[in-house]
């Protein structure tokens, strides 16, 4: 006879309290692991081959134009006194460079990932909040105010140090230069352009007026509202080059998208022939032993050329296959001896 007191004191006889919940007890037995490894290995080898072949089909042409050597075309521009210097780099393509061709600039030994550098911006300014134009974020210092205590918009080290070399590409056909049209649209993240960054709303119909009382970043030749006078959608904080620059690179050696070649005669790619790249050389890098380069590349479904992934998959895949074979041998031996015991 159980009375109520007993029922109350007696522990619950549930699967949980008695630690008897039904449980799946996986056992990584050789019977599962060996075929599993084999399958994974084969799959990885397959993916690896695909990746490697894809990576091999991607064409890349890159060139350092810093001008460290005396005989390089841009050497004269490295002299600091030389303002508004332009130099011209010529090159030739022996085969068609399949389009769409992506035009990158690359910097090395350039630390966009410095912590102080990275926080040196004012998001509220860049989101178009004019309330923050007069009082930039403290993190922006020493790029928050100019020497006359005028607030800088956009403030901070990142904006101030925007990459300002510009390029013009010409195909040389029979001695005449034919400009290759460069497309600057869609080079930054869609969300950066459409949502994250906002221009201030125009004051009295004038975009420039909204910047009243502020000054341009010290290194900039012109204020933000004059970054692109032709295309108002590419002006101010929504300038694509600016947006690309504001997304900080992860490593001190990086490349950023400059333009795409998608228009006109070059939509199918750059045909074989001679080309000339005119560089408006403004960006000093030698003071910190940096290098600049330009890169032409086309992309595949996996992005730009990168042999690492393909090789990694091939290596790991073959490793798995080898392991499964080794395990098979070990297992066979083990099972053998086990049978003897029995």
């Amino acid at each position: 006879m159980k009375n109520e007191g007993e029922a109350a004191k007696r522990p619950d006889n549930t699967a949980f309290t008695q630690q008897r919940l039904p449980a799946w007890q996986p056992i990584l037995s050789a019977g599962i692991v060996i075929p599993g490894f084999l399958l994974i290995g084969l799959a990885f080898i397959g993916i690896g081959i695909g990746l490697f072949l894809t990576s091999q089909t991607i064409q890349v042409w890159e060139m350092d134009y810093t001008g460290v050597e005396k005989d390089s075309p841009c050497f004269r521009c490295t002299i600091l006194s030389n303002q508004n210097c332009t130099c011209e780099v010529t090159f030739s393509l022996s085969t068609l460079f399949t389009g769409p061709v992506f035009f990158y600039y690359g910097l090395s030994n350039y630390y966009q990932n410095f912590r102080k550098y990275g926080v040196s911006k004012d998001y509220y300014q860049l989101a178009g909040d004019t309330g923050y134009f007069k009082s930039p974020e403290a993190d922006c210092a020493p790029y928050a105010y100019d020497s006359k205590k005028n607030p800088i918009v956009p403030c901070g080290a990142i904006a101030n140090s925007i990459f300002n070399d510009t390029f013009e590409l010409y195909q040389i056909i029979n001695g005449t230069k034919k400009q290759v049209p460069l497309d600057g649209k869609g080079i930054s993240w869609w969300t950066d352009y459409n949502i994250k960054y906002r221009n201030p709303s125009p004051v009295n119909g004038s975009f420039a007026k909204s910047f009243d009382g502020t000054v341009k970043p010290i290194n900039w030749p012109k204020p933000a509202y004059e970054l692109d006078l032709i295309d108002p959608n590419n002006n101010g904080f929504l300038n694509q080059d600016f947006l690309v620059w504001m997304r900080r690179a992860a490593l001190p050696q990086f490349r950023k998208l400059y333009r795409r070649i998608t228009d006109g005669d070059y939509a199918a790619g750059l045909p074989a022939g001679n080309y000339s790249l005119k560089v408006h050389y403004n960006y000093p890098v030698l003071s910190f032993d940096g290098r600049k380069k330009v890169v032409f590349s086309n992309v595949s479904w996996m992005g730009g050329k990168n042999d690492f992934l393909g090789i990694a998959y091939l290596v790991v895949g073959s490793l798995c296959v080898v392991m499964s074979v080794v395990m098979l041998v070990v297992y066979a031996k083990f099972k053998f001896s086990d049978d003897d015991d029995a």
């Binding site: 997304r247 490593l251 595949s300």
Partner: protein
């Protein structure tokens, strides 16, 4: 709690006794009435008040080293310009502190409530001839308090008057020590009936926590007479917290109030026991702290080396502010060092402490819930007093067990007796009763039985003391006398009841004690009456008790019963021989034997004894010693009548349990106060000693050649002999070993003793005093390798060893609840110990060990990439992960699976653990938390951390990872690493999980899903309160890149590959391989 005492008792600290004026009346003949100050009767068990809660609680919480560490990190983040915002460490700390504060606040609120209930309880106090209702907290020392039936005493009272005629009252002390039987307390003899005008003072000792000790003296002043003096003992003291039973009403005078009551003094918590796992954690913490500091030092050094190169320190695109330029170089270095510390501090996670504590707290419920521990007899299951030691149950190397009540049932049964050398069996009642008549010595026989009936402290359970009995009585109590077989007896020791019952079988029935006269119904159904003059109480040192009674005819008799060793020297030697044989034979059969002796006291002898005893009882100082001396003096020159044998049956499955413990590699030591032969036979019965065991005895008997033997034994080469040894030592010899006459030998003896004991499979120490038990435990505990010890016992005499051992287990036996109160775990039966250790202990150990290792591992591979990233960002303390990820990693993304694992994992099922005791050896010596496994986990963490970082690093050699040619930035880098990290770390745990319940599935897949969901959510919204929207759409963008997917997959697989390989290749070998598949959750 202590504060109150020092405050209240401040001005009387110098005096070692206090004087109380009963009813606050000044007394004649004494020095002027000085109302001394005592503390009021308020019980304050709460720690906090509303006002001091916040500061006091915070202070206490930050006294914990871990909390303090995180507070420092937080403060550094607030003061110094550090890479991560103070929120990242402040939020978890705040969370932990708040949760703890709420918990402690709630507990304190409960205590306040309980205190108020006690303090505001209405009581009746006699004041100037009137009964006044007061709140309990207003009682002052000296007040005369009235208590009615079923009420608890509001403070410690000296019983002055009882409504019962015989001046007794009954109390239960269930709430004090758990003993639910009724105890008798006595009024102070000869006090005036008129309490309103009782001129008396009480002199008693200062408050002390021992519940069973009280010494005092009462002076009663009568006009024109010498003041009468009465001695007061514990039998006069009613303790606060006890309940009045079976008595209409009593009056008592308050002697100790409030925080000075014995109950309050006993509230002090036990000293904290720390588990070996905790020590390992601290050691690992130290290693990680070193790693942390060295990481910070390396980074700081390299930073300044790197900066010394021209152009690196301050490139034109990242110039310093004027303030930074002005800062002192060394100060800058220091703040840089602190910044690195902050950046890497996540390697020591605040959440580990929370998780470990939660695991212990929640995990202990499984012990209380286990229905296998439920004993239908006492309607109780296991009890967990501390959850800090769960894992220690899996590490026990030495088991110290009490015999009586632990190995045996403490359910005494009278087996036989031996009177004057003749044996009387009890079992086959009929035939042996015939034997009784055959023997020629009816006088001795009757004397013996009378002795059994008189020499005890048993009480007859009153009719009506229980409701049930009352009802039965009401119906036919008058018609039918209560059947004698069912007569209830109450006694402090079951032996006594067994003896009284035994005597009853032979025709002598003890009817009860009424106002100092004992009634016996003899064989002829006549009532004999004896006047009880003195009771010489039992104590474990004397090991005997006596009564002095006066027969109707005026003879004064002393009856004494006790252990053979304590009786034999006190009787005539020629009587001993006949009985010794029986006693020894009974002892080898495993019975408890007692010898009974008596002596007739002449009037002069009695007068001497009487005054001596009275004086000793009245002594305020050294009362114990004086009494002891007096007892010894009285109990001499007796003549032996006979001996009894009482069987104490073995506990259920005692032998199986002991066998399992030995099979699990534990050494079992039996520590008992019983005599050697009895204990030895119990050991044989429990299979602690086997037939082939060679017994080495070191007792008083063998002591002459003992010293030689001791050194001889130690010289023996233990390892070569394939022989089981059992070792027996007795208390007297042990005290010689522990405290040899020459102090110089002490350490040598001790190490010899230990050496012998450690080479024996079982050790039996008999004739132990409680303190000696603790001494042995302490000695083993502190021996080389500091083995984990466990003590198990059921009685008050085991408390010291329970407190001394690493793990103390109390058995909810018959000898009261003191062992249970002082234990860490309490179980109803000995047989439960097997499951508690072999199944629960083993699992808890594996769980917590895995938890600890996993926590260190997952934080190592969490922080390592962030450390490596410093080499690529100019040592600028740039965090690799977003602040949200840094904060949430340990709190949300990876905490639940390991918690579920650490609560539910059963790498081997309980049945197999119970069937194969040897499995317990697999985890012996803290196997999973030694440096080797720690190194394994650390290497694994480093391997994976390197893989995560460099895998993504090579991927980012071309950051154009999307098919639209756009590039990824630093936050994408960190997010890819973090995603790989979260998945790898979680899947690593999934690989280790051998027991997948739905909860495991839910939390493992759930927390991965939560990570993905959170990342989308966190990156999907522009958060208005954030200064920077770093992660805006980073995660979604990452997932749109095929390369990112592929790199995540391959890195996860590659990180887990070695684990999987090891698991598969490390096949279990040997005979157990089939049953026990992969017993450790990780290979090495």
């Amino acid at each position: 709690e202590r504060g109150g005492i020092t405050l209240c008792g401040g001005d009387e600290k110098r005096v070692d006794s206090r004087t109380i004026y009963v009813g606050h009346r000044p007394c004649p003949d004494t020095e002027a009435f000085i109302p001394s100050k005592f503390c009021d009767n308020r019980i304050v068990s709460s720690k906090y008040t509303v006002w001091n809660f916040l500061p006091k609680n915070l202070f206490e919480q930050f006294r914990r080293i871990a909390n303090f560490y995180f507070l420092i990190i937080f403060l550094v983040q607030v003061i110094v310009d550090t890479p991560t915002s103070p929120v990242t460490s402040g939020l978890p700390l705040f969370f932990v502190i708040t949760v703890t504060a709420i918990k402690q606040g709630y507990e304190d609120w409960l205590r306040h409530k309980a205190d108020n209930e006690v303090n505001k309880y209405p009581v009746t106090v006699l004041e100037d001839g009137r009964s006044v209702k007061k709140e309990s907290e207003k009682i002052k020392v000296g007040d005369v308090v009235e208590v009615v039936e079923d009420e608890t005493f509001p403070c410690d009272l000296i019983l002055l008057q009882s409504s019962r005629e015989d001046g007794t009252c009954f109390v239960t002390t269930a709430s004090l020590d758990g003993e639910s039987n009724h105890k008798t307390h006595y009024t102070v003899p000869d006090t005036e009936k008129d309490l309103q005008a009782l001129p008396a003072t009480i002199e008693c000792e200062q408050p002390q926590p021992d519940l069973y000790k009280f010494v005092g003296r009462m002076h009663i002043y009568k006009p024109e007479q010498e003041p009468a003096v009465r001695s007061l003992g514990p039998e006069n003291l009613l303790l606060k917290g006890a309940t009045l039973k079976n008595t209409k009403k009593i009056y008592g005078v308050a002697v100790y109030t409030g925080m000075e009551t014995k109950m309050a003094l006993n509230y002090q918590g036990k000293s904290q026991k720390r588990s070996a796992v905790e020590k390992s954690i601290n050691a690992f913490l130290l290693v990680y702290l070193c790693i942390l500091i060295s990481k910070a030092v390396v980074c700081t050094t390299l930073k300044y080396v790197w900066q010394s190169k021209e152009g690196q320190d301050e490139p034109w695109y990242n110039q310093k502010t004027q303030k930074e330029k002005d800062t002192n170089m060394y100060l800058k270095m220091f703040t840089d060092f602190l910044s690195f510390m902050v950046l890497f501090n996540f390697i020591i996670p605040v959440s580990m402490y929370v998780t470990v504590e939660m695991q212990k707290f929640l995990g202990s419920f499984f012990i209380t819930w286990d229905k296998d521990f439920f004993d239908p007899e006492i309607q109780e299951g296991a009890l967990v007093n501390t959850s800090d030691l769960n894992e220690e149950l899996g590490q026990v190397e030495y088991v110290f067990t009490d015999k009586t009540g632990t190995l045996t049932q403490n359910n005494m049964e009278f087996i036989e007796c031996c009177i004057d050398g003749f044996q009387y069996k009890h079992r086959d009642t009929r035939s042996e009763l015939d034997g009784f008549t055959v023997t020629d010595g009816p006088e001795k026989e009757e004397l013996f039985l009378r002795a059994l009936c008189l020499c005890h402290t048993v009480q007859v359970k009153e009719a009506g003391s229980e409701v049930l009995a009352d009802q039965v009585d009401g119906i036919d109590g008058l018609l039918l006398p209560q059947p004698e077989e069912e007569r209830g007896f109450i006694a402090s020791s079951p032996d006594e009841i067994a003896l009284v019952r035994g005597a009853m079988e032979y025709g002598f029935t003890f009817l009860g004690l009424e106002s100092k006269s004992m009634k016996i119904k003899n064989r002829e159904n006549n009532i004999e009456e004896y006047k009880l003059l003195h009771v010489l109480n039992f104590d474990p040192v004397r090991r005997r008790m006596s009564v002095i009674v006066q027969t109707k005819s005026g003879e004064t008799l002393l009856f004494c019963k006790g252990a053979d060793s304590s009786i034999f020297p006190r009787v005539r030697p020629e009587e001993v021989d006949r009985i010794r044989m029986h006693v020894e034979r009974n002892a080898t059969e495993g019975y408890r034997t007692l010898c009974v002796a008596y002596k007739q006291l002449s009037a002069e002898e009695y007068a001497v004894a009487d005054t001596g005893l009275r004086e000793a009882r009245l002594a305020l100082q050294d009362r114990e010693q004086k009494l002891m001396a007096m007892y010894n003096q009285v109990e001499t020159g007796m003549s032996l009548i006979g001996a009894t044998a009482v069987e104490d049956r073995l506990q259920e499955e005692a032998a199986e349990t002991m066998e399992a413990l030995q099979g699990a590699g534990m050494k079992v030591w039996v520590l008992t106060g019983d005599k050697m032969e009895t204990a030895k036979s119990t050991c044989y019965a429990c299979r602690l000693f086997q037939r082939g065991t060679e017994l080495l005895e070191l007792t008083v008997r063998t002591l002459e050649d003992g010293r030689l033997k001791l050194s001889f034994l130690s010289c023996r080469s233990w390892s070569t002999a394939n022989q089981d040894y059992g070792f027996i030592i007795d208390g007297a010899t042990l005290s010689l070993v522990m405290n040899p006459p020459r102090e110089a030998d002490a350490s040598q003896y001790r190490s010899l003793f230990l050496q012998i004991c450690q080479n024996c499979t079982a050790v039996l120490c008999c004739r132990m005093a409680p303190l000696q038990k603790a001494q042995i435990v302490k000695m083993v505990k502190n021996s080389k390798g500091s083995p984990i010890t466990l003590s198990i016992g059921d009685g008050a005499n085991d408390v010291s060893m329970i407190l001394e051992a690493h793990v103390g287990i109390g058995i909810k036996g018959k000898e009261g609840r003191q062992a249970v109160r002082n234990s860490d775990y309490a179980i109803p039966k000995l047989k439960h110990l097997k499951k508690l250790l072999l199944a629960h202990g083993h699992l808890y150990y594996v769980r917590i060990a895995h938890l600890v290792q996993y926590f260190f591992y997952k934080n190592l591979c969490f922080i390592l990439p962030q450390f490596l990233y410093q080499f690529f960002c100019g040592y600028s303390q740039q965090p690799l992960y977003d602040a949200a990820y840094l904060t949430m990693y340990n709190i949300c993304f990876t905490s639940m699976p390991i918690l579920a694992y650490s609560l539910l994992e059963q790498h081997i099922s309980m049945e197999i653990l119970l069937d194969n005791a040897a499995l317990y050896r697999e985890i012996a010596n803290n196997a999973m938390l030694r440096w080797r496994p720690f190194l394994y986990w650390t290497v694994l963490g480093i391997f994976q951390g390197l893989l995560f970082f460099f895998g993504v690093r090579f991927l980012f050699s071309n950051p154009a990872l999307q098919d639209n040619g756009q590039v990824f930035g630093n936050w994408s880098y960190g997010t890819i690493v973090f995603t790989v990290l979260v998945f790898t770390v979680t899947l690593k745990l999934a690989l280790d999980t051998r027991h997948w319940t739905w909860i495991n599935h839910f939390v493992i897949w759930g927390s991965l899903a939560f990570y993905v969901f959170f990342s989308f959510f966190w990156g999907g919204i522009i958060w208005p309160f954030l200064k920077q929207q770093r992660l805006y759409f980073v995660f979604a963008n990452m997932l749109s890149s095929v390369s990112a997917w592929l790199v995540i997959i391959i890195l996860i697989l590659l990180s887990l590959l070695p684990e999987i390989l090891l698991v598969v290749l490390r096949k279990p070998r040997g005979p157990h391989s089939r049953q026990v598949y992969l017993f450790l959750p990780f290979p090495f």
